[in-house]
Symmetry: C2
Subunit: 156 residues, 2 copies
DNA sequence: CATATCTCAGAGAGACTGAAATAG
DNA sequence: CCTATTTCAGTCACTCTGAGATAT
């Protein structure tokens, strides 16, 4: 029947961690739906965006920039290389490293994904006006920055 | 060497969906660490909190309240019942349903988890002051409410 | 010897789907 | 006949750990 409210208990509705997780789930869903039409996953976008902003870097550096685990980077880089979106070459100056470079096709794919991400973020924050969206990005950004700093080199 | 900044690319740093996902990961980690000491998982907390706030309800209603899938509810209810934290009985008025009730032991466990959640949220939002925390809860709450409303009965 | 990088193998929870059995 | 509930089997991406091989 379920004529009831179906509201979450206030213990959850007021918990920042629960709310953030829930919001993350919705963001996740929207991104996955949008990216599936471009045969991409979230990690792909992170890597392509980092390569475009920072230029060719090692896989380890990619992982630090994107908050991705070393083992996941290996997988994603393999997939992107198979698709011709990036090139992976050994670093002549440090034989342990792979230097990853984005290809023209990768750049075009990033352009497509950028547009999708923009649409998704708009849909994700639909109930908020411009000022509220900026406030949310600022607040959540500070939280992320804080926790990223506790375990890495810190950014910003 | 990695003397570099290791900042995320601005495409990510400015993306609400990426930021929310990252924040969710940190929240997730903190909750898991805290709950592992109490032999609990996040779903357990949601269910115990809902039962305490709403009283005995069916599993389907629990799922709607907590944003949990029907099949996951079945699993969690089974685990909680095995641990003696809830009781599960067929509804005499509707034989399809299980009416789930929290036990005294379940209430005590909820008390423990409430304290852990409170600590976790404090740590999670460490870089924000009181007013900023309330603003974040309000903004993210509205986002969650919006997306929950698009696919269910809506709350609030 | 200690540290850093890449790779693979896999664990484990989380979110979700499909289908069957039962009851309204 | 159609819908709702519970349950099971299983998928899939995601996060993360451990270990090995190699290089600095």
């Amino acid at each position: 029947m379920a004529t009831t409210d179906d509201a979450p208990p206030s213990a959850l509705r007021r918990s920042p961690s629960w709310l953030t997780n829930q919001a993350g789930i919705y963001a996740h869903r929207l991104v996955n739906e949008a990216f599936s039409s471009a045969n991409a996953r979230r990690y792909h976008y992170s890597v392509l965006a980092a390569l475009t902003e920072f230029g060719p870097v090692s896989q380890a550096a990619l992982g630090r920039h994107c908050h991705l685990d070393r083992s996941d980077i290996a997988g994603v880089v393999g997939e992107l290389a198979d698709a011709g979106l990036i090139a992976r070459e050994p670093d002549p100056r440090d034989q342990r490293r792979n230097i990853v470079t984005i290809t023209p096709a990768g750049g075009r794919q990033l352009g497509r994904l950028d547009a999708l991400v923009s649409q998704v973020n708009d849909e994700f924050l639909a109930p908020l006006n411009k000022a509220e969206r900026e406030r949310l990005v600022s607040l959540v950004g500070r939280v992320v920055e804080h926790h990223a700093g506790l375990q890495g080199t810190g950014w910003a």
